[in-house]
């Protein structure tokens, strides 16, 4: 297989064993945003979990996902192509964070993502908790609201926690819709499940035109039909993809803060993600990987795998539009 001569290429496990050499997303070179030239897609860590209302640890997510992403090789076995031949991809390092101040942390992350977008780079981020999606959406949806395909056990459309606090990992998409960076009418949530406090989030979603699909409905429809609906919801316009690792069953993703029994299998998630083919993905994230709750690294391996599936689609999209 011919490798593209100008684009960044990952280190091969046939040259340097996968437990050796530098640690980065997909074993790609790490490039500082200041030095980023002609990058199409930027892999970014967001090591922050200040919005977490229950079990913390997602701040450690990017490091473990990078480590487990060494398991991913360069060619997709179904597409039979390599994203590194289609687009120039790099690891842009971690967004700056502040574990001791929520507002400052969000501001730092937002500035970083805005610099990425300003550079013409499409961000594919690894969280971090789900509140990290908010500054990312502010960047990619800054000019006009984006649509979103959202895989999650939870809607994250709640209003506030603990007596009025509006910024937690349970509220990012309520905020994003209110701020006008996310278009509720072009948003679909897939795989909702688990007990809920009440039905307030459903009401919010209904008011803003969000298509909320329970896992029961998704399983009845099957992945092909689900994604047909998803594609019709987001259309051809710029779209964000947000993948909360807790959409997987806890057996596959124990390392997360809010596990819910009865989730998707990774195989189903792969099928669903492959159904995004053709969607104009302008930004994406995989969030809520909390390594302290999974020393095995399996959760992070699944997260890296989902990033890989998204990356292949983003690269193909970039190549198509070039």
């Amino acid at each position: 297989m011919n490798q593209n001569k100008t684009f960044h290429q990952p280190i091969s496990g046939m040259d340097v064993p996968r437990y050796a050499g530098p640690v980065s997303f997909m074993r790609l070179p790490q490039v500082a945003i200041e030095a980023a030239r002609d990058i199409d897609i930027g892999l970014i860590g967001v090591p922050w979990d200040g919005g977490t209302t229950n079990r913390p640890g997602a701040r450690h997510g990017p490091r473990q996902i990078r480590e487990m992403s060494a398991m991913i090789r360069r060619v997709h076995h179904v597409h039979r192509t390599s994203p590194y031949d289609l687009a120039n991809v790099a690891d842009l390092g971690d967004a700056p964070v502040n574990p001791a101040d929520l507002d400052d942390a969000l501001a730092r992350i937002e500035r970083f993502f805005k610099a990425v977008v300003a550079n013409g780079i499409r961000p594919l981020a690894a969280g971090g908790d789900h509140l990290c999606s908010l500054p990312s959406l502010r960047a990619v949806g800054g000019l006009r609201p984006v649509g979103m395909v959202h895989f999650d056990a939870h809607s994250d459309l709640w209003d506030s926690y603990f007596g009025g606090f509006k910024l937690t990992h349970g509220t990012p998409f309520a905020r994003a819709i209110e701020e006008g960076v996310l278009d509720g009418g072009r948003t679909i949530q897939i795989g909702l499940r688990g007990s809920v406090y009440d039905l307030e989030d459903r009401a919010f979603g209904a008011r803003h035109g969000v298509r909320m699909m329970d896992i029961e409905e998704a399983l009845t429809l099957g992945p092909d039909k689900v994604m047909e609906i998803a594609r019709s919801v987001v259309g051809d316009e710029p779209t964000y993809v947000s993948f909360d690792i807790d959409c997987l069953d806890p057996a596959f993703a124990p390392g997360t803060g809010t596990p819910e029994a009865g989730g998707f299998t990774p195989r189903e998630a792969q099928s669903l993600l492959r159904g995004l083919k053709g969607v104009d993905i302008v930004g994406a994230d995989v969030v809520e990987v909390s390594p302290p709750f999974d020393p095995s690294g399996n959760t992070a391996l699944n997260a890296a795998t989902m990033m890989w599936e998204i990356l292949c689609l983003m690269a193909e999209n970039v190549a198509r539009r070039r």
Copy 2:
């Protein structure tokens, strides 16, 4: 969502984070049996594993299930109702036990469950090993034998172990049928699988009219058909539900004493349990969670989730019959 003013309500994770505050089943108040008034359904721990023939630890089950049950919120996302609006539910604490004497332990547990039943409370217990079902059945089936829907990898219909010992976690339902507290003809066992010593349990089941369904048959039929059969087996009469966590595949429930490869997923188990709708569940248990074999707590999370599914049905049943 309007909360019932007289019934006990769980603490909300939007007020007190789920890792804080007292530990009880579903974050409900803990009420001593002596002080129990107008309780419809009692959640009970049975911290005892004296009937275990292989890997122990189920005595630690109730504590870890209580802890993980803090993940469960008040409204069922499919039913769109809360059991706490339909029935008065409380945590009745742990049944008294004795880890150093099998007979005394069974006697203590039986007395406790008889007091619960005498109070007009329907017990929903968390084991403990499967021998804990015997004293519970003696209480709920004391006046006349109950039917049973039994989810398990094993039939637990064996005669004896180690040269004639008749009380182990492999024998409770043989005893219960012999004692006349369980009606074999109104009993169905779902999900049997794994290698066996011989076919003696099958013969016992056949003699007593037990419907024994292997997991292969259950998967071929699908959950809807399986539960149609189950409902026809137990009919409208009082029925016990016993859920051995090892009916799940060990990936979902590693924390158990006798894991068998190739089990149900939690999603399938949820589907099966929802098929109990309308059955007159007069008592239930979820057993064989052994925390030392699963520090992650996932097994206990699944157990708490299955208790939640059963609780919602019991509450609806209580409300319907009120």
Copy 3:
């Protein structure tokens, strides 16, 4: 052994096995602060880690410490007395917290501790990260600054992090001294070790008269001499005791956010704490237990043991002054 008839007594493991029954500190009754009458010493959980700059999880500390404290029985094997015969002790539950807002969380915790102190109760808290000591000190040192015996690998006297943020678990005692609730001249820090960013904290300590003792010095002196110095530093005036679990070597306390190689053994820590005999301990805490980093529970067992050592001294102190 005669048990005091009026004071709260723990459940005995000879009556109810230690894995059964309700979970509380030392198996004592849990009493709401509003209902607290004639309590001398209150055991309090502070499930909050919002000041953590590195590995989180101390928010889960109180729950696991309570669970492991079931291992502690009622009589101290060296003192040959029971604190429950000398003072009325209760578990006051968890202080209210807010994981999504640092300032609000500190305010809630402070209000709770002020109510405790206002009730004439001496608090013995289980953290939470070390920033939790600040609201506690504001309560016990509110009228006049207290002295402190502080066991820790770190001085926690830093000025700020991440470009000027003044409230983290590395800064509480700088704040407490600046606010005048802690008397630097009556403060001793025992067991400092590990690499440091620079020597700024040493300078701060020197300016405020803090006696800073490295672990090397402590080991050379031996526990008796160390505590002779400690007692002379704090004198007879009201004194706070703060025990950061990371003063122990990580082999004994892996479940903590900032482990440093080469720490005290639990045996040495017990010797040191017993040297506090006679000191007027008006408040205390054991902090920085992060259960996600120690599924074994050993860290929490050591924390519970250190609480037990402090409790016995506090009870004796209460009895002496009664």
Copy 4:
């Protein structure tokens, strides 16, 4: 159930608890190859992982698989027969190995398997990494090439690693085909998935007539159709079965060196293996169980279960041909 009087029988868990007594495959007697008389099927450990290019530890596989195989009883619940009534089965111990020299290790293992085959014993081995299949194939395919049904995430048909090294766990079947001990045209690989370095292995397989079936194809066809194809590929001639535990999803088999997200469930694997009924299995292995990456033992339990499924078929095959 009548037990065969001449064949070896496993210890029953109803006589000696499964955590007690000697440790061997399936609790069968351990017989030295020198003393083996009238053995039909030999269970063999190959504690060697010298061909591993990434995470090691498969050398510990045989010991943990033996331990977890104590969970397997004597009668298959679907077949309703016991392999120990159909064939004489024994644990032949571990093949001799050398962790410090690859060539010497392969030579030792090959000699051992040749002695097994020379004794008229069909080997069923537990690895070890996948390179262990090569000396086994050299033994069973020594006279003429065997066919193979191969369950794996990876084709293991690569040419070389690290600049020309031809013997790794990624190359055994390329070598076996080149050496003429494996018949590519009678070989099927089931469940291939995961990213790849390039498409070289596909080309090699195509050149040698190997039927390579991705997991996507296998899932679309369903197990019955897949195994119909498999049986038609291998026909009635002598066939080897190689089961790499990483064909299972990492949630079920975390203890392996090269996990790939999105694999088979154990239930699916059981269905596939049962489809081998009638195939003339002359040798088999279950490989790549790496216990250090799965302290729970679940991976080894699944490996023991797959050995059990294969053993039952081999025994039936032996009985049929006797």
Copy 5:
């Protein structure tokens, strides 16, 4: 180094790697008691924990201790001799047990130990919980009471639990003294520590002349002086050695049922055990290793090491008296 030609010898890790080959204590041959000829010292597993009042799992101890004992080689680095040149040592397998009946289990174990003693073999057992020492003492002290050197955090001299139950792992030595198989006046307990229910055990010990030494006293005296006292307590008469792994600090032995903070280090334990030189050890055990609470195997490694220290002394004693 010359190996004795008639005595059993362990497999060498220089011939067969330590993770390969059969699993037995110290890699010695396993000999059935019926076939035991000219064995001086028998290593015995007692896989039973029916006397456990708190965390179970010691039934799994013998298997994991055997596995970790593969780490022990044939020559003691301080004595510079091998026990296998001084005495004939074998693994006698596991005593028969019954997890479902306490009385039957004790009877089976006692019969086994009586057969061992009747064969002229000195037993060195691996538990199992501490109640396993009772049937062993009944065997070795059957003709006349033995003395005992007992290393433990707990005295195990309690009268009864749970309202009068006399046989638990907290009561064996009270029973043994009452039955006249253990001579209280020739018994010393070393390393007592941790909170206690009351002082009843101290009173019992005092009445029967038991020398009870707290860890504080032992540390003040130092190992040489402690063992001088121990040797003077037991004198030259037959003596039993019982080593409860919980005498070690939980950092070294997390895998135990009743951990107490502040215990001995393995190094101190080795020093203490070496001080038994010259004592006529007629039987010994190492108990309370509970593998489910220590997947690392370190607890079992320490247990195997303590067995090794005792074995070397027993062998020297046998050789001296031959």
Copy 6:
């Protein structure tokens, strides 16, 4: 504290949290050997464990040590200086390895270390198993044999394994002495302990003048006297320091291949290492960290800490000789 303007400086945890940003030894810049200019001390990973005769996994050591070294800050709390002000230090990445061929791997590693030494850089390596010391010694002792201070439970002076194989992690120093790159007469081994196969290694050491000090002797002498002896053995000539993590007790370093009960504490190891002050350390390594056996990372934290202690001495040595 003034930072040196020309030397590389680590990222501060007060700017970028320690779980964020790139992963390297001590958070220093990673510099390719080809680009290394004016580096005094090079931190190097050797991810290879091909010489391991028992439990593998040390190949994963460098990655986990790098990760845990983020815990180390820039100033030594006892020396009150920073090595980064005294010498120019960088992470040189990993030596190239080959997990599939022992001879090729050793050749690659040797070439890398020779390039380092040729650049005037003093290597401080993180293994890898202990055979990795051989190519390093070939580089630093290439011109004339170096002395060595060696901390280990094992002498690693054996001749061969498995019937004549001369290159394993138990033989490196026998080879190094035979090859003339290590001077036996200027070598001291500190902390030897644990059972041995025979006394052959002692004889080899004696023949070559190696000072072999058992841990019992080291503890009797105390660290000051031990290191006085060590300094007199190695004198002022170039000396290598090799620290096998298994010299620590397994409670502190469970993540290693050949644990031996009864080792040093990290505190003792720190004292011993500080006694190397003034020794001309021309190369050093910390080896045998096997992460799969310690998911907690404590072993790696201790390894990073020992590297830190050695680094501070090397830097001071460099500054002194500049």
